[in-house]
Symmetry: C2
Subunit: 207 residues, 2 copies
């Protein structure tokens, strides 16, 4: 439809800009509370300027997430939709132009908390990354397949909670593989730091 064509024009503009500036952009998509912001807080610690990155924080309301990122000394711009359930390419494009792209290796878009709609919108990213916490249940990839199909990688978060929740990691990975045979699955905890290095190495290789 026309709106999608319009979105795609902006996504391609963004892709052109990022290629020219040699900046990697990833689009983190997951439910509210899946742990996206916590993962970025952890990455700020673990990356220690090995990869210089900034964050485009997408939310319906509040600047809370951008403030959390700023508190760990990473530049963050808060994008507020005021109601829309997903970020679109035009909004992301304008926010990008305000970042110091010449001094960055990577931009992370944290999309609005939502497992459905963000998967449908290209915002010019190199990769969509699906974020699912072990508290949400191992059947979620099957129930929300588009995101897991589109993702270039999947992150299972909060694995420190595995002792206390009914989550079968093998079942969940099998569900993911049925939908997407090639995306690697990273199991990690932003709380304890376990597994975060493997995820960071994958990012390093994508640059």
């Amino acid at each position: 439809k026309d709106l999608m064509g319009e979105n795609e024009k902006w996504a391609n503009e963004t892709r052109r800009l990022l290629t020219e500036k040699c900046v990697l952009m990833i689009n983190l998509i997951g439910s509210p509370g899946s742990g996206k912001t916590a993962l970025l807080e952890r990455m700020a610690k673990s990356l220690e300027n090995r990869i210089r990155f900034a964050v485009l924080e997408g939310d319906v309301e509040t600047t809370r997430d951008a403030e959390r990122i700023a508190a760990v000394n990473i530049q963050a711009s808060q994008l507020l939709t005021g109601g829309a359930c997903h970020l679109e390419a035009k909004l992301v494009h304008y926010a990008l132009k305000d970042l110091p792209l010449d001094d960055l290796d990577m931009v992370v878009v944290e999309n609005v908390g939502n497992l459905v709609c963000p998967a449908e919108f290209d915002v010019g990213e190199m990769a969509k990354i699906a974020v699912l916490s072990v508290a949400e249940g191992d059947d979620k990839p099957s129930k929300y397949p588009l995101l897991f199909h589109e993702a270039k990688a999947v992150i299972l978060t909060k694995i420190d909670l595995l002792l206390h929740v009914d989550f079968d990691v093998d079942d969940c990975i099998a569900n993911i593989k049925r939908i997407n045979a090639s995306a690697p699955v990273f199991t990690l905890s932003a709380k304890t730091g376990i597994g975060v290095d493997n995820w960071i190495n994958w990012l390093h290789e994508r640059r």
Copy 2:
């Protein structure tokens, strides 16, 4: 807009039908994995036919949730959107007409897992019920205010996990009260059953 007007016509049709049949309808809205289906499984046990109810299960894909409800001997119809991130009134209206309304006291709509869009759509319910799990974080009401503003009651689920997550119940309730002064907040666990009776009593009083 026209589409909203159209949706509202069907919602009012539904309200008329439910009033005529003396059936209470509630619309459960919360993130993927917040515990909506688990709560319905627990209600099937606790209600033991005191309130005769059926479920309209909304999902993007799979019949998993309807099957879980059927497995505890409650009638469930699976409504599949195939992509839409929320249920709409017309779909709910047609599904309702296939239920044995003369033999029911209540219909529960379990909406698509999503904290944003379902709050915008009236499907003819008497009440929207916001469902938030303690694993998601106590800042979510502020970040996704429309649902909490529209809800006639809020359910905080999975309280058995409180020892293992960073969730301040008082902060969360304060966040909710700022947005919605009158909605009661029920803290419960579908896993252990704690707090479920208070929720059920509220439903009883609404009939």
